[in-house]
Symmetry: C2
Subunit: 198 residues, 2 copies
Amino acid sequence: MAYPGYLKKLVEALTRFPGIGQKSAQRIAFYLLGCSREDVVAIARAMIEAKDKLGFCSTCGSLAEAELCIYCTDLKRDNKLLCVVQEPRDVLVLERTGQYNGLYHVLHGALSPLDGIGPEELKLDKLVSRIKDKEISEVIIATNPNVEGDATAGYLARLLSPLLIRVTRIAFGLPVGGDIEYADDLTLSRALDGRREI
Amino acid sequence: MAYPGYLKKLVEALTRFPGIGQKSAQRIAFYLLGCSREDVVAIARAMIEAKDKLGFCSTCGSLAEAELCIYCTDLKRDNKLLCVVQEPRDVLVLERTGQYNGLYHVLHGALSPLDGIGPEELKLDKLVSRIKDKEISEVIIATNPNVEGDATAGYLARLLSPLLIRVTRIAFGLPVGGDIEYADDLTLSRALDGRREI
């Protein structure tokens, strides 16, 4: 196919985005060609600027505009409570609930022996020493409800048990607004396991 | 929600892409933050380079790296045959079939009175004079099979009728590999209309 070189390069770059296949990339490429040059430059600049100005907190691994993130430097937060998540974006999702006011720890991944990700890659030692140093009283594990997330949660629970602190994991069950009829077996059995008195 | 300013700006820029909503944009933004700076710069550069180096052919409106596109300057193509499409990407799709060896004309849109797109916006006069000047013998209309594409095809057919040339439209029917059971009513009735002797 006679695909001009610059278009091919752009489509290839765009297919590297998560969730973007060949067709979506081509659609976005043509959208960009139809934009004014200023608009394309603005989008390109937003990417580079975000990359240059945003980093990860040296303490907890959350997204940060400085050495430390806004959660680690916020004195009004409960510094006895630590929530462990897999990715920086999970912090934003938890913040959106407005329900949590403790600190965070971002693993930047989950245990996955097949992908060569072990406890060293997730720097779990650093997490343990942070919990010890800061006298955290409860660790809430909010890893994903899948094989890797479960393995990570189990490993962390064992790793933290000598510290004699409370280690919890967020609840699994039916999504609110969901319908029992459409729940998958695994979710439903976890919802049964996690039943509470009303 | 505590959404760092640069991330917000990036997510907003990405949601302008066709088919990208808030969640996909956030996912892409975090993907970019996880990339090396060189990779982000390479993607940004590919966008600006494509915008700077690619334009539209002054004759037919196809994507071009110069004043004229590779189709208009290709002497081996059948210059009596002209295919009218809505968008530059449609040219690439038709080229991929390897079945068509004529010239193209890209309207950069379709008639849509509700959006204020009339015959003037599509520069249909230019198309008519091109057909006259170049002594085109057949015009194949390959606008989309929807309301706007149908209206454009009908309008073009009437506009071109005084020229006494062959005006055709690509066939509608069941997609190859499809299943009659799952065909929608409109496609099926068009497939019946377009039936041919075997």
